[in-house]
Amino acid sequence: MTTFLQLAVSGIALGSIYGLVALGFLVIYHATGLVNFAQGQLLMAGAMTAYVLLMQLDLGYPLVLLGVVVVALLLALVFRYGIHRPMVRRGAPTENMVVATIAFGLVLTAAAELGIGNTRYGVDPIFPGAPIAIGGVSMQTQSIVITAVAWVLVGLVWFFFTKTLTGVSLRAVGLNRTAAAVSGVRVSRLITVAFALSVIVTAVGGALVAPIIGAGPSMGLAIAVKGFAAAVLGGMSSVYRGMVAGVAIGLIEMLSSYYISSAYAPVIAYTILFLALVLMPARVRKSGATA
């Protein structure tokens, strides 16, 4: 039982990161209909920023997290005003913009390699110290932080989308952009808000996971793939479903690795996900909006 609980705790922490990445996918998708395949590299950007500020410049964590948010905001603005909006104005189809997100991701990876280095770097945890053990189940303090912050962020994003005028307007943009514009909603500004929200959440996720697996230019892809799977499994419809799906993937990965086969755990996890997608009733996949 202790082993099962240990696996479950680890799966929840890991899945919470997938859920955060899924959240990043969903926010932009709902505002623009765009799947942002630079999400993994944006996670990497958060991790590398944390590494530079914490390990190279010796700043404290409050300033590090502030710096991560600032860098994320800048990247979001570059993404939005340097790539997305010009392409929208030229009438680029969605698939072209998806290609542009891939290019943006490549640029971020190359920039990190050239500017910082191309190995994996250790990053100190927010609360250094021995792992916390309760009843034979232990967790690194950083894993506890990851889980807590991820769920708080999901809660805040949910609150934003359901309880604030800006969030509700953003949902309206996602449902029907023309109708929202006619109703007086400032569509362009709200899309920028969506980009900022998405990139900040993802970059903070990168900064949180860096003390566990290190920070490096190539770290984002594997997490982003699972985050995308979580977003899809959640129906690309709501933030909490994406988060729950992320945790489900994390749990399946952990449990199948231990109880079935460690070598084939990713295959098993994705097979289960595939079956879930195929068998899931269409009304579940299609129902709900961002909240």
Binding site: T3, N118, R120, G214, S218, S262
Partner: protein, 406 residues
Amino acid sequence: MNVPRPRRAALAALALGSSIALVGCATAGSSEAQSGGDTSSEGPVKIGYIGALSGGSASLGVPIQHGIELAIDQLNEAGDLGRELELVAVDDEADATKSAAAAQRMVTEDGVVAVLGGPNSGTVLANNPIITGAGVVQLITVAQGDNLIDPETPGADLTYQVTENNSYDVGAIVQLFEDGAYDAICAVSDTTEYGQGGIQTIRTVFEERGLEIATAVSHEVNATDLTPQVLSLRDAGCDAVYLFDYGQDAALFMKTVNQVDWEVPVIGGRGLNQAAFLSIAGEAGDGIIFPSVIDPEKASAQEFIEAYDAKFGEDDDPAHTFSALGYDSVMLLAAGLEASGFEGGEALASALEDVTLEDAASGKEGSTLTYTYGDHRAPSDDFLTFWTIEGGEYQLYSRDVQSTRP
């Protein structure tokens, strides 16, 4: 063909991304077309290096390149060779397809006299037939696969391995497991060519020595969580672990062992000589033992380390294992080139078969790097030392290592 403006914008964005990404893959040196093997008598002699300079394996591939650069700088500065050496380096990102494409370009366009192979066995297996097929010599710097030197393959006459192979390392490490008299030795590796080939070698060598691997677990490379693997081994009753992993995965394994408070002796593979391992594991790596090619009491190793740290900094390759092998690869090649009159191909291959390096940066004091006719694996007996981690720093564990050529 007319391309709609929006599509052109997307293609331009992708091209920009690709071009910037490829900066890391840029070659140093011209792309003048020449046939494989340098035959010119003037100008610098071009040496190729194909290795992972980005991605997960870059923490091995970059120190190798730095070692190569240091050797070339020193040789050119001394001027004893009579010709200058010039490096043509290409990033294969540890991808076999890209490695093969890089090899094709090197032997058909760059006119390199020889190619130094990188850290990954899978990429060397992919690029070696192209390099040797063009009549160009390849020296494998760091990749350890037992199958990289195979007399039955067509390019065997032109292929040389600078480093010791997996069987050599495992043969030395096994003494630690014998000394411990463990009841259940278990192993962990990734699912790559390196990891699975390593596990196969471990099983074979262990069987020859009357030992066995009780349980082996795998994981995808660059894992994000290794809790199931650690718990699997703990619950299987393992009382010693052979950690055959690269740095970042090995670091995650050790952190997880530490997290679940499992006190078990862990003995690692040579992949732990990476800055990434030390950086990520920190003090969670304390106590682990692993093989190295660095002997701190050897004068030539001391000189190399001093020169390397002065040029690239102490944190660039704190264990110096991979950079030393890159450095020695150039020294071996330079000796061969001098003997062949800077001719490549068969002339260089033949010259290399009489080369011995007695003052190499790698290897324990008294060992040599030697090629002979029909034996293209350089390390002599007693090449290895054992190292450990103490207080988050690399420390020599023992020079008393019995290592023999398999």
